[in-house]
Each structure stands twice: as structure tokens, then as C-alpha cells.
Subunit: 620 residues, 2 copies
């Protein structure tokens, strides 16, 4: 098979619908909300390297990365919507980076201003993670503007890292405590064509876990750092979720570019470990707040779910890279599960506040248990979004994620163009003079009808991902006529016999009950409501009385209504509530209950209230 | 109404059935198993006051109480089954107590041997708690043997406590950190008739919470110590469960003996707070390991339930005292719920090992989450019983509880004799020359037929508790004929028209599904299996595949079989297992599943295995 490629978002315009709205929100509001909070908290000023002991806003080890992700977000925005103010702001930061970097190319605020002389001594202090995010920002800015100053600065830094870590091995550790630089180096290789960057990424991937170099700190289990064994020996996703999925993403990149089948196999095992056993219905990952980690198979508690926004994003990154190793619809399925739920719940509807953690259940009464004794209490995720966090990785991460959402629309090879994500868009690929153009018009995911026009693809195959939820129920017409409906690994293929192919695909996005693998203890005997890839939830503010006794008997009827507030439909359903005869009784009857549901991503936008995703399954 | 009295177990002989078997086990095995472990760990030797710094087995602050409860257990045994060896062992300890007590009557191992000079300085160091248990032991030993040496020693000590705490107020604190002495002083008042002991109990009850005197230690919330307000102002059971119920027990005693209606009302509120909102189906209480506390209403998680054996016992103590304040069947209902489940699960079937905590669910796979990160993990209760604990309060507590189980059979007043607990027994009350005799023959709780013969009660009423589970379905014949079936507050009353009344009562103890108040989040959408007062559970060792996806559809049929191993029936039920189509799918079907159930009290007697009480409720 020819090498597969992902069509980058710079070649995809989102022209309408949910993601166009969110990109506008990012452009108009989110980018400035994040910037303003980063200014308030001294993160931008830290790039002046003027902080001295006793000053406020002591630079934190990961502030470089917070700003880097903001720079990348801004670059992604101006790529599509040139904006000289934003560009000037980026340039101002780049100027500071250039001015304050060390003569040998090293750039890190904390290790220059706060702990000078200690560079590359503490594996857990995010130094290479910050470098990775700066590299990503530089790459994005180069694509956005063609200006190469930032890129060259980061090439210098990458060259230094290559020398110190790979050639001289003179750092106090071999591989980063928090992966990220691996995938960034692959991007740097992509834009520069310099193979040394791929080699360095490969070095970090392959060295990891070959020697015991985890720090003996609070989280100091080697598995927390994905360092207990070489990645090729790993069989289950483990440890800190974001670190894990960034590492796996870099590994999948390296496996593809080096045509390394044993590394690719390891990545497939790790992906399946998440996909089949460690992922919430929202695409969230990380069930334990302790270390922000994966735990054991099927251990997915809802009320104490950690499910960091960055972790859901990292899962999309990993899935999109796996998609290039393995043509299978499951990757796109996972991506949209995360995109519409566990990622988007991280952002308020007004674009000004953020969730770091994304619980699947809020039971305010239960939380009173933590007042009953002083210590230790139970950990619970936040119930309301915040404008900024001490560790504010998620806000700029979701910002760049939305700005670059077009990354996930199309994949292609020499013989095939795949449409993986459905959204109104125009994608252009292939030779500049005669590009293939894939246009979509759709209200997906809230409307299942998708009109696709593919131009100049004659002789190629068009692959359409049929999401798992619709695999048994969809309709397709090609050029106004019937088409074959066989899917192969989640894709339906159409031969483009002419240079203009029109496809009318109708997916079934009607609301449905979803059941978890019964080994998921938290969801056993329960069901969730989904419509297409969108998970729905119920909030106390919409539903009188306790939410937790509500359930479904038989197939409910859903009444779906558009909602401007949520930018997505809301619905009511004929559910039931169990009524019992006392604290413990042998009587239980069901009374009808009109349950009001909103999209999960929109929860907690109307104050603190109970919320639930998994309802009782009271049978057929 | 005339004053109500509880018929003490010394006037009740258990003649057969479940409790006779357990009393035999206590007499033959448990009392020695506890003794031997207390010898191994230096607890008996501590009474020699010979420990010096550097020696092994440093006396702990509550060792006096461990041995005191053993002494009380032994006394309760020899009251019914004279045993000169046991009596000699008790006498030997009494001799040591007498020899090693201070000239002013003070007795405490820790504060004489380990921290001399610090007596009555630390409210949380169990000094008055130890005194209370020694008083209880002395009272029991006096009843068992008529020997008054131990009793007099403890009267001296109580006199000292009265002077220091009530008269002089010279101690560093006003009321005990761990209640217990209050109810013990009431027992001492009962046997001596000395009102000063009742007054001192009343003093401790009434002073509590009037000044902030809680210690600032690890658990230092005043509510943990039931010290945040006077007991009359309390509306919900709160803090450390055993402390709470011992305090409430003493308060109920004082309310009754002093005819104090506001105190009685407080006790009723506190009881209902437990009964209606904070009690597990097993009668266990205390849902948080942190502080062994009550938490908030309906917060009753199963897998992390603390539910200390002592706490279930303390609830029986509280309920039995409430029964004297308020003629209501709910007290007997709660008592038998605890007796057959949350208390008895504390003892292994072989009588040699003990649970401190009594979970309602064990999910071994889930516990793997604690290996995923170093700290902090989730707290989980033990999965197997132990022979002794560092804090080994539960083993001698369950021992004395079983030895004195006859305490709960009958209550009486001038006009009425109530039968509250059904077990084969002979109870004798009233004038020695012409006592009323209440004989029961029954296989209850495993057989619902109860034959009751009441002699010499002509002119009185006989009150029979009709347990809530059978209130709508029971049969009764009096003297071979029909009887009225109206119940008043849970009791059916019969007028004794002759001096020989025979009653054939048949309660419905057939297995049934039980539903929790749906506000109990952990049990919403779930059901338990009970037969009479006995809660059943399923263990992994009996049931192939995962237990947690099992549930019931409609009314199951139960096949009940006797089991010698458990000393109680086991059963199978036609349940179902939910089968779904993947990690998250819209298909779910039920397949038949033959579920094997054992009595909850018998769980974890066959090695470490999964266990579940609350099954999925898949509707009708």
C-alpha cells in the first residue's frame, strides 16, 4: 500500500455548522480569553526574563508550553483569517524568545531565570515538553505566515537537544519525563525535511524504558512515566494519560516514517487497550485523579472521573496518527467520540472558561461526605469551569485543537481519498494545478444527511467512514443512484468513474440508548443516550427531583428540539423513575418521568447542578 | 404508661436454632480464639503492670477495654454455662486489677505504666472508655457469679471519676472523647441502685457539646466527637459511628430513667436519622473509612463501605434502648437487620477470625487501580477476616454480643409482655414464685413458623412484633383459632384470657427482592435479595464470569436449599446477565443466568473472591 497521508487543516476550510461556529468562537473570544488570563498571571511577561526572587508571578516550569500553545493557536487562526494584531503579538513573543535564548540555542524560562545552571537535570520538570510545544508553535507559525525566524530558533534548540541527548548523552536523564517533543520533532522533520529530527524523535521513543531513570517523586512509579519497559513490550495504556498518548502519538509517527512494524504493532495494542477497555463513552480517558492516570481495565467511575480535557485531545492526536498506520474506521469513531464530548466539554458555551477535569456525573449531595471528616476526603472533579488554572494546559490546548479541527477531515493515499470526519467543508489535495476537491455540505452530527462532491478524483477510490453507530442503518446514493453498501473495516468505498462524483450519504443520528460493556462496573445495569456521536446528559437544573433514580424501560421516544443556547439540539425522553416504599422495601414501581436532556459538552453552563450521563436500565 | 423493661439475657435461655449454634461456637471456640490472640499480643500480660520502656508489647490506650470485653464475654458465658477454668481466668485478671489499681481507685494500664502522671489529660485517649468497659465487665461478672470484688473495685473507680469530673471538675476535659462510660454507669446504677452513677451518666450526656473541648488531632472536627452541640440540639447522626451510638445509647438510658422528654425526642430524631437515611441494608453503619464515620444522608457506597462490626453492634445497643422509650416495631426490625447481617458477618463460620470492616461489595479487579499510582489510592475494606487487629475492639465485642443475645427477646411492662425477637428460647419474667414464662419453638429466621407458649400471663396483653417484611403477609392462630390481625406500630396484640396461651405465628420469610430508597445513589437501579431479615449475597467462587452484570427481570424463582456449611439456607435464583455488543454499543440483550446466593454473613469464608449484594434491577 502507498504511504497514507493526513490532509492538514491548512488545506481544509470549514464552511459551516458546529465546527465553523466553534472556530468563530475561538477566533472572536477564546483566543483572547486565554491571552488575557495568561497576561494577568504573568505568563507572557515571563518571556521577558525579568523575574527576580521576590517578584510576583514566579515563572513555572511549564509556562513556556502554555504560551507556546497559545502561539500555536494564534498561528492556526491567522492561517485561515489573517489578523495583523495577532501576528504582531506572536512576533513580539518570538522577539523575546530570540533575545533571551542562550547562545547555544537553549531556551527555557524557568531554567534560565529561576534555576539557572540546572538545565537538563530534572527529568520531571517539563523542559523537553516545553521545547516540544515551542517547536510545534514555530512549525504552525511558519505554515501560517511563511516567516521562518521562529522556526530557525527552534531548529537551533532542537540541534542542541540532539547533541546533548543523543550524541553526547550528557544530560542527567535520557528521555523526557513528559513526552511531547517526540511528535513535535516529527512535525519539525515534516516541515524542514531534516532527517536528524526524525532520528532524534526515534531515539527518544526507543530509549524510553530501557533504563530505570524515573524520578523518585510523589508519582514516582515507572509506569506513571511510561518508563517501566520499552514501548515495544507494552501491552496496556498506563500511567499519566496525556504523557502516554503524546508518547504513543510520537511512536506511531516514528513507526510510520521508519516503516517499523514492531513499533506499529505496539501502538496498535496500546490503542486497543484504550479503545476497548479504558475509554469513557465521552472519549475521555484517565479515571484516576491520582497521577491523572489510566488505571485498570473497565475501571471507569463517573462521579470521580478525572478525564482531563488535554487527555481527550491527546487521544485524538494518537488516533489520527494510528489512522495512518491502519485503515480502520475505529480511529475516526474514537476521534469523533472525543471531539464532540470529552474535548468540547472542556470549553464553556461562551468561550471564556474551561474544565480541566470532565466528570460524567455530579452528585452535589454526595459531596457533603467530605465535610464529615477533616482528612482524608474523597477527591471530586470541579463542578464549574474556570477562566485559568495554576496548571493551565487545557485552555490553550483546546484552542489550538478547534482552530486546527480540519486536520481530521480527510486522509489520502495514491489510490484513495478517505473522508473520515463529516462537517461542512472544502478540502483540497494533490497537485496544485489540478487538485482533487472534496466538498461537504451537512448539518452533521445533528442531521445525518451529508452531501459530498468530489472533483477530479477519476480513477481513484473514495472511502467514506461509516460510523459504528450507523453501520447497520444508513443510506447512500452516488450520482443520484444506488450504491453498494459493503463496508471494509468501517469504510464504504466508491470508485470515482468520472471527475465529478456526488454522494448523498445519510447516517442515522437519531437518539439511541447505549450500553457499556458490563465489565464496566460503574455503568453495569445502566444506559446512556447518544445521538450520532454526541453523548447527552441530564442536569438537575432541567429536571425536578433527584436525577439518579431515573431510568429507561423499553425503547424511549425522544422529542428533539433545536437549541440556540447549546448550538445543538436538546431533547426530552419518556423515561421512568423508580419509586420504592422506604429505605429498604420490597415494593418498587415505576412512574413516568419526562426527562430533559442536553448535549454532554454543554453541561455546567447554567450554574452548579447535578448531572448524569448513565441512567438506570430498567429493561425492555 | 408504666415503665418498660428489657428482659435481661440471664432470664432467657436460647434453646435451639441459629443463635444456640452461635452461642455454642462462642463458648467452644470464639472465647478462646480471642483469648489466645490477646495473650500472644501481650494484652493479658499488660495487666501485670510490668511493662517497661524497651519491652515488647507496649500497652496501648485501649487494651484495658479489649480485655474488659473479653472478661464480660467470659462472664456472660459462665452465667449460662458455669466453667471453673474461665472463672479462674477472670478472677486472675480481677486480682491483677485490684493489685495494680491506684490507692484512690484509679485503674488504667497506659496511664500508669506508659505515661504515668498524665491521667485525665487527653480527651481522645479512651481512659473513660476503658473505665466504662471495665464497669460493664464487673457488672456482668457480678450477675454471673454473685461475687462482688470486681464490682466494688469498679465502684471505687466510678466514685473517683465522679469526684474528678462532676464534683471537682479537675480533669483537663469534661466529657470522654469516646463515649461508653455513660451506658456503663447506667448499668452500674442498675445493679447497685446508687443514683450517683445515674447522675454521673446524666452529667456526661448533658455537658457534652456545651463547650469546645475537642482535641485538635487528625480527626479533630467537633462533629467527629459528637461535640459540636448539645445532644438535645442534634438532628442527625454524625461523626464516628461507634462513639455516636454508644453516646446515644447512654442518652436513651438517661432519658428513660430521668423521664426526660426533650432528651428522648433528640434520641428519636437521631435514631430516625440512621434508620431512614444512613443505614445499609445489612444494618451496617459508617460509610466512610475516614474517621469511621457517618457521612451524609443516603451516601452508602458498597465497595468502600466501612461498616465496622462494632458499629453494627452499637446500633443494636441503641435500638434496644430506644425500644424502651418508644413502643415501635422499627427498633426490633433494625436489631434483627443488624444481628443477622452486619454484626454476624464480623465472625468467620469457624469462629476463629473477624472482620473489622464489612463491605457490601468486593470487586477484586477494580482494586488494581491502587497499583496504578503510588499515592493516594482509594481505600478499600479487607477481603478476608483476621484473627486479631492492632485495634482489636470487634472480636471481643461480637463475642459478648452473641453470648448475651437473649437480651433482645422480650420487653415488658406492667400490662404487656412483648416478644421482639423470634428464636427458640424460654424467657422467664415477673415474680420468682409465679413467673410468666414465654417459650418459643422455631426455625426462624429460616423458617417462618413460630410456636409461642405464654404461661401465667392471664389479664395481660401479649405483643408480637410483626417484622416489616412480613407485615402484609403473615398468619396467626391463638389457642388454635383465628386471631385479629391489626398491628399497632408494628405489634400485634393478643389478650391473654387464660394462664396458658398458645400462639402459632407464621411470618413470610420466603426470598424476596428488596429495593433501596432511590436517593441511595449506590443502590439506585439495583435490588438485593433477602429472606426474612437475612440479606443474601453472591460470591465469585460460586458464580462463573463477572458478578456485576447480573440482575433480575421480573419476580425470580428461588430454589432454597439447606446448607450445613453456612448454618443457614443457600439458594439459587433465575437471574439474567446483560450482554452488550462491545465497549459502547446500542445492543443489549439478556441471557438467563443461574445465580447462586449465600447468606451475607457467610461471605469470605472460602478465600478471597468477588462479592455483591446489590444486583441490577432490569425491571418487571
Amino acid at each position: 500500500m502507498s504511504e497514507l497521508k493526513q490532509l492538514p487543516f491548512r488545506d481544509v476550510n470549514i464552511t459551516g455548522g458546529f465546527w465553523a461556529d466553534k472556530q468563530k468562537l475561538v477566533r472572536d473570544t477564546v483566543i483572547y480569553a486565554v491571552r488575557d488570563r495568561f497576561e494577568d498571571t504573568g505568563r507572557f511577561k515571563a518571556f521577558e526574563f525579568s523575574w527576580r526572587e521576590g517578584d510576583e508571578h514566579k515563572p513555572h516550569i511549564f509556562w513556556d508550553s502554555d504560551i507556546a500553545k497559545w502561539l500555536e493557536s494564534a498561528a492556526d487562526i491567522i492561517l485561515k483569517n489573517p489578523d495583523s494584531d495577532l501576528e504582531e503579538q506572536i512576533d513580539a513573543v518570538v522577539e523575546l524568545i530570540d533575545r533571551n535564548r542562550q547562545p547555544d540555542g537553549y531556551f527555557n524560562i524557568y531554567y534560565t531565570v529561576v534555576e539557572p545552571g540546572k538545565r537538563f537535570t530534572n527529568r520531571d520538570c517539563h523542559e523537553l515538553y516545553c521545547a516540544g510545544h515551542l517547536i510545534e508553535a514555530a512549525v504552525s507559525y511558519y505554515y501560517a505566515t511563511g516567516k521562518d525566524r521562529f522556526l530557525k530558533i527552534m531548529c537551533d534548540y532542537a540541534d542542541l537537544i540532539d547533541r546533548v541527548f543523543r550524541v553526547e548523552r550528557s544530560a542527567a536523564f535520557t528521555t523526557p519525563g513528559h513526552p511531547e517533543i517526540e511528535l513535535a520533532l516529527v512535525r519539525l522533520y515534516g516541515v524542514t525535511g531534516e532527517k536528524k529530527y526524525l532520528d532524534l524523535a526515534s531515539f527518544f521513543i526507543n530509549e524510553r524504558g530501557t533504563s530505570p531513570e524515573f524520578p523518585e517523586d510523589h508519582w514516582g512509579l515507572p509506569r506513571y512515566y511510561q518508563s517501566e519497559k520499552p514501548i515495544r513490550d507494552m501491552t496496556e495504556a498506563d500511567g499519566h494519560c496525556v504523557r502516554a498518548c503524546y508518547l504513543y502519538s510520537g511512536a506511531a509517527d516514528v513507526a510510520r516514517l521508519e516503516n517499523d512494524s514492531s513499533l506499529a504493532d505496539a501502538c496498535k495494542r496500546l490503542f486497543d487497550s484504550i479503545y476497548l477497555r479504558k475509554m469513557y463513552v465521552t472519549g475521555g480517558i484517565g479515571s484516576s485523579h491520582a497521577g491523572e492516570t489510566f488505571t485498570v481495565d473497565y475501571d471507569l467511575p463517573n462521579n470521580t472521573a478525572y478525564t482531563e480535557t488535554c487527555a481527550a485531545i491527546s487521544l485524538v492526536y494518537f488516533a489520527s496518527r494510528m489512522r495512518l498506520l491502519d485503515v480502520n474506521g475505529k480511529y475516526g469513531d474514537v476521534m469523533e467520540r472525543a471531539m464532540y464530548n470529552g474535548v468540547m466539554s472542556g470549553l464553556s458555551l461562551d468561550g471564556r472558561s474551561f474544565f480541566y477535569t470532565n466528570p460524567l456525573e455530579i452528585n452535589l449531595a454526595e459531596r457533603g461526605r467530605n465535610d464529615a471528616v477533616r482528612d482524608p476526603g474523597c477527591w471530586y472533579p470541579d463542578t464549574l469551569r474556570s477562566e485559568v488554572f495554576g496548571c493551565s494546559c487545557c485552555p490553550p490546548n483546546i484552542t489550538r485543537f478547534i482552530a486546527s479541527i480540519g486536520d481530521y477531515v480527510c486522509y489520502y493515499g495514491d489510490e484513495t481519498v478517505w473522508v473520515d470526519q463529516y462537517m461542512s467543508s472544502t478540502a483540497v489535495l494533490g497537485p496544485e494545478d489540478e487538485p482533487i476537491r472534496v466538498s461537504q455540505r451537512t448539518g452533521y452530527p445533528f442531521d445525518g444527511r451529508i452531501e459530498i462532491v468530489v472533483k477530479r478524483a477519476k480513477g481513484k477510490r473514495i472511502g467514506l467512514r461509516i460510523p459504528e453507530f450507523s453501520r447497520d442503518n444508513y443510506a447512500i446514493e452516488v450520482d443520484g443512484g444506488r450504491a453498494q453498501k459493503e463496508t471494509v473495516d468501517g469504510y464504504l468505498y466508491i470508485e470515482a468513474k468520472t471527475d465529478l462524483v456526488t454522494v448523498d450519504l445519510t447516517l442515522d443520528v437519531s437518539p439511541r440508548l447505549v450500553y457499556a460493556d458490563p465489565r464496566v462496573r460503574a455503568d453495569a445495569g445502566k444506559c446512556a443516550v447518544c445521538a450520532g456521536p454526541v453523548v447527552y446528559c441530564a442536569e438537575g437544573v432541567d429536571n425536578e427531583g433527584g436525577l439518579f433514580e431515573v431510568g429507561f424501560r423499553g425503547k424511549p421516544e425522544f422529542d428533539v428540539q433545536p437549541s440556540e443556547e447549546f448550538g445543538a439540539p436538546v431533547m426530552t425522553a419518556n423515561a421512568v423513575r423508580a419509586v420504592t416504599g422506604g429505605m429498604y422495601s420490597d415494593t418498587r414501581r415505576f412512574e413516568p418521568y419526562r426527562l430533559r436532556l442536553i448535549p454532554y459538552f454543554g453541561f455546567a453552563n447554567r450554574g452548579e447542578t447535578d448531572m448524569i450521563v448513565w441512567f438506570n436500565d430498567f429493561g425492555d
